[in-house]
Amino acid sequence: MASVTVSFEDLWKRFGRRAVLTGVSGTLRPGRVLVVTGPNGAGKSTLLSIVSGLLRPSRGTVRYRNGETELPRRAWCGVIGVAAPDMAVYEELSAIENLRLFTRLRGLRATDDQLAELLDRLGLAAREQRRPVGVYSSGMKQRVKLAQALVHDPPVLLLDEPSSNLDGAGHEVVAALVRERRPATAIAVATNDPREAAWGDEEIHLAG
């Protein structure tokens, strides 16, 4: 896949009478990390949800372009990887089984060794990878969530508080991951954490 850019213009989102987003615009492109900051309830997660296609905006547009071609909405999920606090993985399945499921759902083939290697790079020990996710600590679960966002090598990465629940080592792993993916991937990070905010080349601050 050639590089995918995402542009969003004048995004508004209302929940009932409450306006959470009031005219937000921006662009995601490979080689740049867009950081979305703001206090709790400012709409950071809402913005990422709209950009990912999970939510419709009350007003405004989101466009995905692969080179010169605009991608229709139903094709967006094929090019994005999303990790967010309200997006869990299946707790009855092991980490490997989860990743196997998500690769199959996307029509991809990956061996268990490849999946194990990804989990290993994210800091999930080999002996844990075949245990049900339900017995994991919150930090381990976060690593599996990140893995499911990355397993299909998406050209667009949307990370909502990616190092939440992670220790210092875990934070470093995510930082390295962002650095590594940056040249070929359009990345957006929604965060309250100043360490994560420091990854950004551009910032959107939501006042809330």
Binding site: R14, F15, G16, R17, A19, R56
Partner: protein
Amino acid sequence: MTRLSNILVWILGAWLAVVCWAAFHYAPTAQGFVGESARIVFFHVPQAWVAVVAFCVNLVASIRYLRTRNPLDDARAAAAAGLGLLFSILATATGSIFAKVMWGSFWNWDPREVSIAILLLVYAAYFALRQSVADEERRGTLAAAYAVLAFVTMPFLVFVVPRIYWSLHPDTIINTSGTIKMESRMLQVLLGSVAGFTGLFAWLYSLNVRLARIALRRRQREEG
């Protein structure tokens, strides 16, 4: 309200008044029924007809909403469903009264009786669903999806099941042999009543939609 629609409403009122009078004084007594009980047909049948018409209007508005996500289409669907619920309650009630007079019990599990009662259940379920969703757009989408699903299953109840079962219902006026089996004055009153009740539905529906339009416009102004 325009002058023309004002006039039409007055005409509707007069029409319905005439229908009520004609139901008792113009139409002759039907044969084969207990006393004057058959006269309920001039009210019962139009109510059932309107309940079905409302269902169709709800379907069209629901499909439009699924395509446009225009809140006014959702309001139209809800308005039609509300009136459909009202008229299916009335149809069930008048049908039960007739059943009590004719056969001694309010409910006989006759397939047509059951059909209109199930339509009532569909409307009630539709509103239960609407009540349980806080987000407006999602409420409209889910309600519209349910309305479409209900519409595609209803023909089975209305058309298939009665053919499998023997029915207590008086022979339908328009039946499979294509002949009309009703005395002409009775037919006139019945058709007049159907037209009147349809007009009543149209008027109540248009009032509801106007109210919804005003409320939407006011909200849009407040939100800027």
